[in-house]
Symmetry: C3
Subunit: 260 residues, 3 copies
């Protein structure tokens, strides 16, 4: 039994995700379809790339990830399959695979062109249903990625926000805010290893100094802390509260770790 | 492996959909249950009928669609199974199947009366769990629709909003607004074929003239356009924006296509 | 084919639930994973306990319920498996199983300690993915609950709100408000059997007397009623409306049933 994992900005209010699943099961009735999320904000390529990066390693070998966050649908933007040997990723070529592909050793990428794997009639507004779903479904039946189209050597990449690493501090930014209001930064545990007695500093009015802890309940209810989260990055959280609201954190907000 | 596709107004905040799935898998552990949506607004029969119409053809033969948008639950309203030979539809007899059944050649419709297919104790408020889910599950195991109850020759139908087709223009209405704010109308590509250089006109203050395009990115970000959508109907959209909000479009808003 | 039913407060905006499913399917590709809900409000143990109580009996024998509403994640709070012979429940030991365990005859409860069933690297913020999902998945493959850790004789329980039963009236409270605004109380049909011609009274300004009916449409659109709901408890509802909003009902609001 193979797995197709879906990540889109389609929401769950309409019939879009259900339609993709209908198409997939029509081609491969034995596949397990798993939703990563469909609630990425409209056309948000960076958030999709992050959500994929934070989750893909939980899935077993041969999982086919299908990412449809696709503001350019119907235009001449390319669609691609990236084969890492371990996983396959199916997506528009708009950068949504950037953060997983930078972690791979030589992925092989193909342009999706072979329309024998498309639905019979392809719309200009719903390639999720008409191209990405059926291509993923055929891949899950065992066809080789080679058959979807020619190999390509370049694909669109969005940049990873780099850290500023200094002797006494490391400066990063918020890259994602989750459902609980936890603010996920680009600061890794590795990058702050050289800091003696590190503490977390959020600029603002007034500025805020936060303890770096191991789990949320180390601080009292309603108090903020920083910790290395389940994806391996520093996160600002409020125990039983919403850190993003409480400290007006947004994507690209600065976060600094320095020595006490 | 057979498929049961669910469409309800139960939302996903409570345990209602999960309960239906528990009942289904207790009867047929091998079935694949697919969510079309559970976010239809409370008791909205027209929106359910449309969501079903826009998605059912994506599913393979023998799919059993189970639609539970059922404000009359517990009253004397009938429950029905409609068998089209290709698909089965299970629903309250309140019009939710109207738009799929008008596309069928002689569906055979049965009143659900045989309580051997019901849960042992039937509540008066949750027939989704106690009647529709188990009947769908038994159908997915291969029982004949004939066994659920007597054939009926009439069922409740809601009307399809008709188009006004003239020599130089076609007038329709918005029939659905999706998650992205795209406004789906009842205007088909067929109905506007006779118009030379058609353009789309939305009444209002001020009125708005929109180009008819093939895909969203033909217009700049934030600009509106009209196009034939993935269900085959004219849709008003804003590239990377929300057309319904930007032009105050609602269900039944007038949209006119005329010659330039 | 076995079933794992998930109930969390993770929401569906991020990748958390998808990650748990990836882990589960990596261990047992043949399991069916069913969502009860992921929309419990953050850390709300009482609401989770109720949602589980209201739904678990719909699932077939051997279902493994996995409840991750876990404000104490990473702290020294225990994780447990409760085996009732019929079902298994996997959860933090914080009271979320209280309402199902009070309905069982001698459940056997084990502390989860055997890390051979954990993910290789266990984070301090996401035991849903690193402990609960893999333990549930191994249980679904048939390992004995005995192997997860030592049996425990005590576990944390939250109290069930008791009824005040008098000769001429029964007083209870609202314990849950659903997606439709229906207010679910702790008053059972059994508890009001001794009342002659019962009617439902909601204190407030002005107070309100509601008829006890069998189904929603017994009252006109927009009118309130009380009825025994699909979980067996008295519920305040408004036909095609939102009772909680209309009567400012909240958790712990008083509801009284008395003789007319």
């Amino acid at each position: 039994m193979s797995i197709i994992a879906l990540l889109t900005d389609f929401g769950t209010r309409d019939w879009f995700v259900g339609s993709m699943k209908g198409v997939i099961l029509g081609i491969n009735p034995a596949v397990s379809v798993v939703d990563i999320t469909h609630a990425v904000s409209q056309g948000n390529i960076r958030a999709s790339a992050l959500a994929l990066m934070a989750s893909y390693r939980c899935f077993p070998k041969k999982t086919i990830f299908t990412v449809v966050v696709d503001p350019g649908v119907g235009s001449s933007r390319r669609a691609i399959v990236a084969d890492t040997g371990f996983y396959c990723f199916v997506a528009p070529d708009n950068g949504v695979l950037s953060f997983v592909l930078r972690e791979q050793n030589k992925p092989v990428v193909y342009a999706i062109e072979n329309d024998t794997y498309f639905r019979k009639s392809v719309s200009t507004t719903f390639h999720g249903r008409d191209i990405f779903a059926p291509v993923a479904a055929y891949l899950s039946t065992g066809i080789s990625p080679v058959t979807v189209g020619p190999e390509v050597k370049k694909w669109i990449t969005i940049s990873w926000p780099e850290l500023l690493i200094a002797e006494n501090d490391v400066t990063g930014v918020v890259i994602y805010i989750d459902h609980f209001g936890n603010a996920f930064t680009n600061i890794t545990s590795e990058s702050i290893k050289h800091l003696l007695k590190p503490t977390c500093y959020i600029p603002g009015e007034p500025t805020k100094e936060l303890p770096i802890v191991h789990f949320y309940e180390e601080v009292p209810d309603g108090e903020a802390c920083a910790l290395i989260n389940s994806a391996g990055y520093l996160e600002i959280a409020v125990n039983n509260g919403n850190a993003a609201e409480q400290y007006a954190l947004a994507i690209e907000s600065t976060v600094r770790i320095h020595c006490r």
